[in-house]
């Protein structure tokens, strides 16, 4: 389990995370919802140390990290080894082929053999239906295909948790669906995921747990059923505000 306690993060004089505490259970899919600028991405990036909060603690199975103190290279490595991030704009390495995008990290960082990483990469590519693209470069692929490959790249590191930062926000609805189907499958297989998204249908169908963030505070932390079926007034407003409704 990942457990964040009393996280504070400020940009300039704006506090984006206000003493926030939250747990992310093992093997489950947690979806983080909230309006733009609420601190969702900052929260997610803190887990992977791409953002350093000023204070707070991270408990990750046997690892303990205090954000207010210098983090050793070893601890930072161990935390990142348990997580892998999938980005809104996928951030594939344009200079490497699809196959190399997936194999370079396990080869370089985990010291696995070329044969082993390539076999794994081909398996992952088959899983996402992109076997024939192994030798292409990312620029020759559509956004949806690139995002599926970046999911393979994350999986190839065998992380305990995959962190997804608005993975489909830059995709059109058809490509978005292709990516969501893969995430749904991963969720069913028990891969722990933490997903920031604006897609409510998706959240409703895959999330085991919903965290609703606004202005750097957690306004809701509970089951998906409760969030959608017994919402508080603020959540009701949020849900109706993002639904297109002609009668309004």
């Amino acid at each position: 389990m990942i457990s964040l306690k009393n996280i504070v993060k400020t940009y300039g004089n704006k506090q984006v995370l206000k003493n926030l505490s939250v747990d992310f259970p093992d093997g489950k899919t947690t979806v983080i919802l909230g309006p733009s600028g609420s601190g969702k991405s900052t929260l997610l990036r803190s887990l992977d140390l791409l953002v350093r909060p000023e204070s707070g603690t991270l408990n990750f199975s046997d690892l303990k990290l205090d954000y207010s103190k210098p983090v050793s290279k070893k601890l930072s490595f161990d935390v990142r080894k348990k997580t892998s991030m999938v980005f809104q704009n996928w951030n594939l390495f344009p200079n490497l082929t699809v196959l190399k995008n997936i194999t370079t990290a396990p080869e370089t960082v985990l010291g696995k053999s070329k044969k082993e990483t390539e076999e794994r990469a081909h398996k992952l590519l088959a899983q996402v239906g992109l076997s024939e693209y192994a030798d292409r470069y990312p620029s020759q692929l559509s956004g949806g295909q690139q995002q599926r490959i970046s999911i393979c790249r994350a999986l190839a590191m065998d992380p305990e948790y995959i962190l997804l930062d608005e993975p489909t926000s830059a995709l059109d609805p058809e490509l978005e669906t292709q990516v969501l189907l893969i995430l749904e499958e991963l969720s069913k297989m028990g891969q722990a995921m933490i997903i920031v998204t604006h897609n409510m249908e998706f959240a409703r169908s895959v999330a085991d747990k919903i965290v609703f963030v606004e202005d750097g505070d957690i306004l809701f932390d509970g089951s998906t059923d409760e969030f959608f079926n017994h919402p508080t007034t603020r959540i009701k407003d949020f849900l109706s505000g993002i639904t297109f409704n002609e009668e309004k």
Binding site: D48, L49, L50, P70, F77, R80, K81, T83, S84, M85, F87, N89, N91, L92, F93, P94, N95, L96, T104, A105, T108, V109, Y137, P138, S139, Q140, R153, A154, M157, L163
Partner: protein
């Protein structure tokens, strides 16, 4: 006219092969090494560890001073100081060595800014993606950032190299018998400055045209992953 050209060409081409081209190539290689080191010293943020941080900041101050010095003074003056000036300080250099030192330091200063800007142009997103996969800074540089930066730096670095080939003509002023100096000597005998200097200009243009072809070839090779390029 043809007679003059045919009789002077061998001496000029020989000077080109003996001095102009070696000076340019050797100086560019040293300059490039210096440029990469200088750019990395200025680009990489040192870790918080005090044993690394303070020496790094000293190195960075030296790098800044070096770039400032060589960009703020004329190349000809730099060559004069190294060849004619340094002996007064007890450092006697052969003309060729003095020229290589001058050209390398000058090229290195300009090229370091080219390389630094190429490094800066690789988006932060690439670093984030590499860090989430647990690459170290060094691994990220070697496998992800430098290969992308090389592609971006190629056109301006080609500018520097082509510029350097022509700047070697300044070596004539520190007694090196490079191509331009030879053309001056021949002119002194045959009194045909228009023809001789045009011939020298033509030979420089031939070398630079070949380099332009090399640039195009390298650009194609390093751009094969970019959309729209013919891989």
């Amino acid at each position: 006219m043809w007679h003059t050209i045919v009789t002077s060409l061998p001496a000029m081409i020989s000077a080109m092969l003996q001095y102009t081209i070696p000076l340019a190539i050797i100086s560019f290689i040293f300059g490039l090494i210096l440029a990469v080191l200088t750019a990395l010293i200025k680009f990489i943020q040192p870790s918080e560890n005090k044993l690394i941080k303070y020496p790094w900041l000293v190195l960075r101050a030296i790098a800044n001073f070096y770039v400032w010095l060589f960009r703020s003074t004329p190349l000809l003056v730099q060559l004069f100081i190294i060849f004619f000036g340094l002996p007064s300080a007890g450092v006697q250099l052969s003309p060729f060595i003095a020229a290589v030192i001058g050209f390398s330091l000058n090229t290195g200063a300009y090229a370091s800014e080219t390389i630094r800007s190429a490094l800066l142009s690789v988006p932060q997103d690439q670093w984030d993606a590499a860090f989430t996969l647990n690459f170290t800074t060094k691994q990220t540089l070697m496998k992800i950032v430098l290969p992308q930066a090389v592609r971006i730096a190629l056109p301006p670095l080609s500018n520097s190299f082509i510029g350097l080939v022509k700047d070697t003509s300044l070596a004539s002023s520190i007694t090196i018998l490079e191509m331009f100096q030879v053309s001056q000597q021949i002119t002194a005998k045959n009194f045909q400055p228009l023809l001789m200097y045009s011939l020298a200009a033509f030979l420089y243009a031939v070398v630079c045209s070949l380099l332009t072809l090399l640039q195009h070839y390298l650009e194609r090779r390093t751009s094969k992953y970019v959309k729209g390029s013919e891989a």
